[in-house]
Amino acid sequence: MKDIREDIAWAKINQDVLKSLENPRKLYWVILFCALAAFGVGIGCEVYQYQTGLGVANLNNPYAWGLYISTFIFWIGMSHSGTLLSAILHLMHADWRKPIYRFAEAMTTFSLMTAGLFVMVHIGRLWQFYYSLPYPSERGIWPNFQSPLLWDAMAIFTYLSSSILFLYVGMIPDLAICRDNMHEGWRKKLYTLLSLGWEGTDRQWRNFRVTYLTIACFLSPLAVSVHSIVASDFAMSQQPGWHVTSFPPYFVAGALYSGCSGIITLFIILRYVFKFEEYMTKSILKKIVRLTFAISMIWTYLNAVEFASVWYSNDQASKDILIQKATGTYAPFWWGMIFCGSIVPLTLAFKRAQTNIPVLFAVSLLLNLGMWLERWMIIAPTFSHGYYPWTWDHDQWPSLIQWGMVFGSFGWFTMLFMVFCKVFPSVSMYEVKEMVYHRSLHLKKSETAEQGAH
């Protein structure tokens, strides 16, 4: 199987991709409306919570964090594979990333924007959010630079701004193609503005390559550091179940894991909806599936490392939490996480499953369910069975307000992503052309070599 056919004409690539920007079908509007409605539910919950107080989330005094933080980590995690595909694999010259990195990078940006919302709804005084930003004030008050939460705020802002920049810079040649192929209208104006006068001259390409490479180099370590910092929120604290040295790699692996399965889900949807079979080939799908499988095994290993280190640490409180996770109130969710995160991906080891689209779709959704549960199972058990006996067996279930906002976040993400797909090309045209070109070059070379051998 080959990643892409070498005989696709460049004009056809343009035509196929630009087709995805045409007026949407009715179903698009229906789904967009549903997403908007879901987001509306989330907004409604937030307005109510803002007016009444965080008590409506049914959090309580020792149990101070809930689904907001879990879902925040989930969305931050979702954002990681976009960077893996677009920046890290770019640096490694993996050609197969080219048709799929654009939507993955968009996923990165939008899930970061979603994650940011959860920080906002989590804090008690949203109107004082700016206190956590290091701005010079006449009173000489600074945020606390020791706090992992502050590192978090900085890391996420940096990551979000660089991701947007990276997404945009990588899109400039494509925006120029859109500009040149569009009829007069607001779109043409938008593309003209955004393509920054791209002509495709040698000089422009040279500068473009350097810029793109620079941001890719900057973004790769950033992606790793962002989730390590999110992990520090827990690892730097003193609580049993959180104070684990292996948390940063564990979080990064989990992030790549959920991100990769998110990419599989969106890959399948886009391939079907936009009829991108020529570009999003099964061969490429197989490569991401294998990558996901490898990451899932790393995640499983790191999970086992965590259990083992807790077990051998001789720290009774941490051990108790582990036992609580496996046998306590949250046991069904914890075992659900183990099942979805470590057992379900085993299907990906079978060659037949690696290209079976219905199976992959179901598996990728289950994997993400498992990863969401994982985040919840990091938060909840430590609160219900921490150091202090007074807090023990103090289960707290999220209220409908919390669930409403989690639900709303999916609406928000879907909405952003759908708008993106209709306004910007979700497959990178110029890089697919490069890929086709590389392939035909490669074929020619091997042909010549063969002739030489004769």
């Binding site: 309580n60 005094n61 008690g124 005084r125 206190y131 003193q238 609580q239």
Partner: protein, 285 residues
């Protein structure tokens, strides 16, 4: 505001060791609680509600764990085979331990909780944004969050009781964290009065509300630096020191120790300022 200024200022508020880094002079407020004297009557808790304008959240919110009792009496049943009326219980009054190396202070993103020169762990309500990280990292879980706008929206103080609110203490709005302050308003008043006479606060001159209300005098409170204070003498007699990491009474062989003093979670090294005296019947028998 230069970076230098930022870095220099910052180090003043942070330290790594409770005694070596920052000598307490002339005050270090500390407490000791005699669990043998405690009857679990809850008078301290009620006094705290009255003194510090704590919102009375009502049955429903209490059941949701949203109570605001800065001072709480924890009850632990004896683990023997007897059933309820015969089964013994133990009580533990629990409030903010005013740790010298407080886990809550380092994690607050906006530095709303800090250490004062007289050894208190202070909470700046105006600065708090309500991330609740301090509560998540507190080993004792003694921080209470304002889940609702208690003073205005919720009927936590009936109209006729508005007159009994303590004017020396602010009421806290929605979305901020609060906790025991060792009745900092009383400490400030006493320190001010003493300063005007050119001396330091004498032992017994200032009492916390819980100490004042305790019918069994189980709580003593004072200046740990002052060698004449009751707290200092008690700590010394029990061989409990601020920068210790383990309890002397545990190092002695079984039954051989006369010592009763310990601090909760000393092994986590938050260096708490509250010493508890174990009940005699467990330690001596």
């Amino acid at each position: 505001m230069s970076v230098n200024n930022l870095l220099e200022n910052w180090s003043q508020f942070r330290h790594f060791h409770p005694v070596d880094d920052k000598p307490h002079d002339p005050y270090k407020w500390a407490m000791s609680i005699d669990l043998d004297a405690c009857t679990g009557c809850n008078a301290c808790s009620v006094a705290c509600y009255a003194e510090n304008n704590l919102p009375v959240v009502g049955k429903e919110k209490y059941a949701h764990g949203q109570a605001m009792h800065w001072m709480r009496i924890e009850r632990y049943w004896d683990e023997d085979d007897r059933d309820f009326p015969d089964q013994g219980a133990q009580f533990l009054p629990m409030m903010c331990q005013q740790c010298e190396a407080a886990p809550c202070e380092t994690v607050c993103p906006v530095a709303a909780t800090n250490h004062t020169a007289d050894g208190l762990n202070s909470q700046v309500y105006n600065r708090c944004i309500g991330s609740r990280y301090c509560s998540a990292n507190c080993p004792y879980k003694v921080r209470y969050f304002n889940w609702y706008d208690y003073p205005t929206d919720d009927n936590v103080w009936p109209a006729e009781m508005n007159q009994q609110l303590n004017p020396d203490v602010t009421v806290r709005g929605k979305g901020v964290m609060e906790k025991c302050t060792f009745c900092v308003q009383r400490l400030h008043a006493a320190k001010g009065a003493a300063r005007s006479e050119g001396r330091i606060v004498r032992d017994g001159e200032v009492q916390t509300a819980c100490q004042q209300a305790c019918p069994a005098s189980a709580i003593s409170f004072g200046n740990l630096v002052d060698p004449e204070s009751r707290v200092h003498k008690q700590w010394k007699a029990q061989q409990v020191e601020l920068d210790k990491e383990e309890q002397t009474k545990d190092k002695k062989e079984e039954g051989g120790s006369e010592l009763r003093g310990y601090r909760i979670f000393e092994e986590l090294r938050p260096y708490p300022s509250v010493m508890y005296l174990e009940r005699v019947r467990e330690s001596a028998v």
